[in-house]
């Protein structure tokens, strides 16, 4: 077992860990235990004796476990059994002997497992797992190719260094390529096989019917309802319209269909463009900024009262865009009778108060003012806890307990309006939102669900009234719901949003947009602009200067060394300059100094073989130049004396021979 093999083994375990981690919590306990046992067996493998029978038993156990998982497979339940089978196979491979073939299979299994884990969860963390796995996998495969050739391979230090660069370069290239492919590969507008997110649909929050007094405690989760990308708006405009409830049956507000026709009039102002990224939910209603006349990006049906419904149930995150026009007005074109109906079961107490407050003979604004005054006089408290459950919730709310939440306020207000012959309806949706400065979007959670009232004024225009604001504690109640988010939370949420937006929701349409933008940019470049010319030219000049400096630096980085070496030698020998016809080896011979010999051999071996110096070599050569400082050298300038002199008994061959033996080892 040498270093390289050990490294590959650790990479293998690391890859397995990364592949299993994202889905570990989804796995049943027995699979988790199986994984643990197999991992231990794999780690201890070299130390335990492994008989043939043991091997067969292990295979049998794996086959049984895989079949047990395969039995669970059905058309509705595909993902989990599939992932489970992959986990079991991976576990079996981890426990088996680490031959190159087995290791290759393990690597492939980890990749498939991580890919399949996207069937279960698509968290943002998945991206980091993917990048890590690619890093590990490509390095592992490269090292594996070495081990496959020679299991005992030992790499020299220099080669290891080059290999390390290679090990980083390959995954880096892979990642860049992956990024490019992410944008280019053709997408479908809808997923081909929708498995993820089936079970996640909102349970609390906005509902399609309102029945005040049906709960004693209203507990709602802080789950995200949607995110809305829009400029920061004043709080008074942040009403997110979801549903309009126009019929009161006994005590329950419902939605009737079809609705009376309305005409939507805009005053020509720009409005606020927004994009909504809605989380999956079970109802069909699309939330819009109050009020919006048109939506884009989702298949929907616009109803005349400003409610948008989807055509079909979709369990994915939905993205759509619209333009909110708070200044626009909706004018009722049909008869308003439906908005006046009050069930006979309504408490007589309400009827009396309504009669006192007035009827249709008075002006609309007058009536509203009176009603609001009445609400204020009643000293109503906004509360969502410990509410009485009674047969006549509205009467109880107004006259006895005087506590309730938005449904009580809105419902009571609307009923009173109707009793006063003012057409009214309830609007369900969301109020407010937390603005995320990083992502430039509003985060709206389910606990911001809200109900308010719309009343028809004398001109036949619907006017928004929020009776919950009439509560004595309205200020605290609403500010309490605006939970403050920490800096880190906000940042994380922005990250998550961009992950959803840029990666998960990246589809054909966004691809087209991307291509369109790119081609527009290109077309823009083609258009010649004289004013751009100086900029372009200066950019080119700066770039070329940088290039030249870079090239010169690269040249001199290696070779500035020789001039300094020659200067140093000339100093040492008391010469003005080393004659240019003397080569490095000849200088080494002439000086007879071991440092000069080393310089010549080290540098010559790179220069005359067309190789560039390695960092360590360059350091050593610089060190030699430093060490030569102050040395006394004698150089009798002469060229090599040919092939020897016959008059000498023995040439300088013996010394040559030794010196050059050294040279062979170095090169």
């Amino acid at each position: 077992m040498n270093n390289l093999q050990q490294t590959v083994h650790w990479l293998l375990y690391l890859a397995a860990l990364i592949a299993v981690l994202p889905i570990f919590s989804f796995l049943p306990l027995w699979v988790q235990i199986f994984l643990g046992i197999c991992l231990t067996v794999g780690l201890l493998r070299s130390r335990i004796r492994w008989g043939q029978t043991t091997g067969r038993i292990a295979v049998a156990i794996t086959v049984v476990a895989v079949s047990a998982s395969a039995v669970q497979l059905s058309a509705l339940n595909v993902a989990l059994p599939l992932v489970q089978i992959l986990c079991l196979l991976l576990a079996a491979r981890l426990a088996s002997e680490k031959t190159p073939r087995n290791m290759l299979q393990t690597f492939v299994l980890t990749l498939i497992l991580l890919a399949s884990s996207s069937l279960l969860t698509l968290d943002m963390v998945y991206l980091s797992y993917l990048i890590l796995l690619i890093l590990i996998l490509s390095s592992g495969l490269i090292l594996l190719s070495f081990i496959h050739v020679d299991p005992q391979i030992q790499l020299p230090c220099g080669l290891m260094k080059g290999l390390r660069f290679f090990l980083l370069a390959v995954p880096a290239t892979t990642l860049i390529l992956m990024l490019a492919l992410f944008f280019i590969l053709p997408r479908t507008p809808t997923p081909l096989w929708n498995i993820a997110g089936q079970e996640s649909a909102a349970l609390a929050g906005m509902t399609d019917q309102v029945q005040p007094g049906s709960f004693s405690d209203l507990t709602s989760a802080g789950d995200t309802a949607f995110r809305a990308e829009v400029d920061e708006l004043p709080a008074s405009l942040l009403y997110w319209r979801g549903i309009v409830l126009d019929r009161l049956d006994d005590q329950i507000w419902r939605r009737s269909s079809p609705q009376v026709r309305e005409q939507f009039r805009t005053d020509g102002s720009d409005g606020y463009e927004y994009v909504i990224y809605a989380e999956p939910k079970s109802d069909l209603y699309l939330v819009t900024l109050d009020r919006t006349d048109r939506l884009q990006g989702v298949s929907h049906r616009a109803e005349s009262d400003g409610v948008f419904t989807r055509h079909r149930q979709d369990h994915r995150r939905t993205t759509y865009r619209g333009i909110g026009r708070p200044d626009a007005v909706a004018v009722l074109e049909g008869r308003a009778d439906d908005y006046l109906a009050v069930p006979s079961s309504i408490s007589p107490q309400l009827r009396e108060v309504a009669a006192e407050l007035g009827d249709r003979d008075q002006a609309f604004s007058m009536l509203i003012e009176r009603l609001e005054t009445f609400f204020l006089q009643q000293q109503l408290t906004y509360s969502a806890e410990n509410l009485p459950l009674t047969q006549a919730p509205l009467a109880t709310f107004l006259f006895e307990s005087r506590r309730g939440y938005c449904e009580h306020f809105a419902s009571a207000f609307a009923v009173m309006l109707r009793l006063m012959d003012v057409p009214a309806r309830l609007v369900g949706g969301y109020l407010g939102g937390t603005y995320n400065q990083f992502g430039k979007f509003y985060l709206v959670t389910e606990d911001r669900a809200h109900v308010w009232v719309e009343a028809l004024n004398d001109e036949g225009v619907w006017v928004r009234i929020d009776p919950s604001r009439l509560a004595v504690n309205a200020e605290q109640a609403f500010s309490a719901t605006v939970a403050t988010h920490s800096y880190l939370q906000t940042l994380l949420d922005a990250l998550f949003h961009s992950w959803t937006r840029r990666v998960l929701n990246f589809d054909l349409q966004q691809q087209f947009e991307l291509f369109r933008e790119a081609s527009e940019t290109l077309a823009g470049l083609r258009r010649f602009d004289v004013s751009m010319l100086p900029t372009v030219w200066s950019t080119i000049v700066i770039a070329s200067v940088c290039m030249i400096v870079f090239l010169v630096r690269r040249r001199t980085k290696n070779f500035g060394l020789v001039p300094s070496y020659l200067r140093r030698l000339a100093d040492c020998a008391g010469l003005e300059k080393i004659p240019p016809e003397l080569g490095l080896y000849q200088l080494a011979d002439l000086t007879g100094h071991p440092l000069c010999r080393e310089f010549a051999e080290c540098y010559g071996a790179t220069l005359y073989r067309g190789r560039s110096l390695e960092a360590a070599e360059r350091r050593r050569l610089k060190e030699i130049v430093r060490q030569l400082k102050g040395q006394q050298l004698v150089i009798e300038v002469a060229l090599p004396e040919g092939l020897g002199d016959n008059r000498k008994l023995r040439g300088p061959f013996q010394t040559d021979q030794k010196g050059n033996q050294h040279a062979i080892h170095r090169s």
């Binding site: 020659l566 004659p579 490095l584 000849q586 220069l607 090599p640 092939l643 008059r647 023995r650 062979i664």
Partner: protein
């Protein structure tokens, strides 16, 4: 990478230089470089200084066949290549190989024979084969000619034209040995007897492999090629020479520098290798202009080499 067979080759040089052919180190090295770079050697010196001993010593230590031709004014090409003789029993001609079919051929006093014979020999050297009466005979491998030439002012010589001198890779001289050595030689007498008893230190296959290694594995970087080319160019521009060094001269220089690098234990050629072999490779290829005749050709060449900066960056 290991320099194959370098140790035994150095051993040959060392053995010859220290025991048998003392005072001929330069000639021995030149001969070895010629052998390694697949060239031929021309020794320019007066008779009686040990040329034959050198060739005999080389052939004995290298374990190669040895042939000798003493060139005279009436030597014919067939005396070198061989002749076909009619065999009466077989009733057909039978080729009897001449001395050229040896690995190591000593051609003594090559400038004494007729140009016709000279050119036949030189063509065989270049082509490494002999064609006689329509049949081509390949010369043995390795094949090296060591020719000797008397200084030209001697009587009765046919000087080799430059075009033919170009075919020799290197030239060398032997010179008189130092006084002490010469006295010792005089006392001991000829070493011919000893030479005949030398055991080969190398096999023929090893020599072929070493030659191949030098040819194929020793690196000659572009910078060195540039350096050699600079030398060629300057010799052509030089006012003292009639012609510059030919391209074949450049090729020879590179080949010899490779062999020198190999002997020095390097896998690559450095400028010093070129400087070392330059005189031996180049001097016989150049002729001084008549008006510069009083100069020493080698000295002019040394000055030329000193003008050329070595590529160090």
């Amino acid at each position: 990478m290991e320099l194959i067979h370098r140790e035994p080759i150095l051993g040959v040089i060392d053995t010859l230089a220290s025991r048998y052919l003392q005072g001929k180190i330069k000639a021995i090295r030149t001969a070895m470089i010629s052998l390694l770079s697949e060239g031929h050697l021309l020794i320019e010196d007066i008779p009686g200084l040990g040329k034959t001993s050198l060739a005999l010593g080389l052939s004995a230590t290298l374990g190669l066949d040895f042939g000798r031709i003493q060139c005279t004014g009436d030597l014919l090409p067939s005396d070198i290549t061989g002749v076909s003789i009619f065999n009466r029993e077989d009733n057909r001609f039978h080729f009897v190989k001449g001395p050229i079919f040896n690995h190591l051929l000593l051609v003594d006093e090559i400038n004494r024979t007729l140009p016709k014979t000279q050119s036949a020999l030189l063509e065989a050297m270049e082509e490494r084969r002999v064609t006689l009466e329509g049949v081509t005979y390949k010369l043995p491998e390795p094949f090296m000619v060591i020719a000797t030439q008397n200084p030209l002012d001697h009587v009765g010589t046919f000087p080799l034209p430059e075009s033919q001198l170009d075919r020799f890779l290197m030239t060398t001289d032997i010179g008189y040995p130092p006084a002490a050595l010469e006295k010792q030689i005089i006392r001991q007498g000829s070493v011919r007897e000893d030479l005949s008893r030398i055991k080969p230190l190398l096999t023929r296959d090893q020599i072929i492999e070493a030659r191949q290694f030098v040819r194929e594995k020793i690196e000659l970087h572009e910078k060195i090629a540039g350096y050699i080319h600079e030398l060629l160019q300057r010799s052509r521009d030089h006012s003292g020479f009639i012609n510059g060094i030919s391209t074949r001269g450049g090729i020879s220089l590179a080949a010899a520098a490779r062999a020198q690098a190999y002997l020095q234990g390097r896998l690559f050629v450095v400028p010093e290798d070129v400087q070392v072999v330059a005189l031996a490779v180049v001097s016989h290829r150049l002729d001084l202009r008549p008006e510069q005749d009083h100069l020493d050709k080698k000295e002019v060449l040394r000055l030329l080499l000193r003008e050329i900066p070595v590529p160090v960056v």
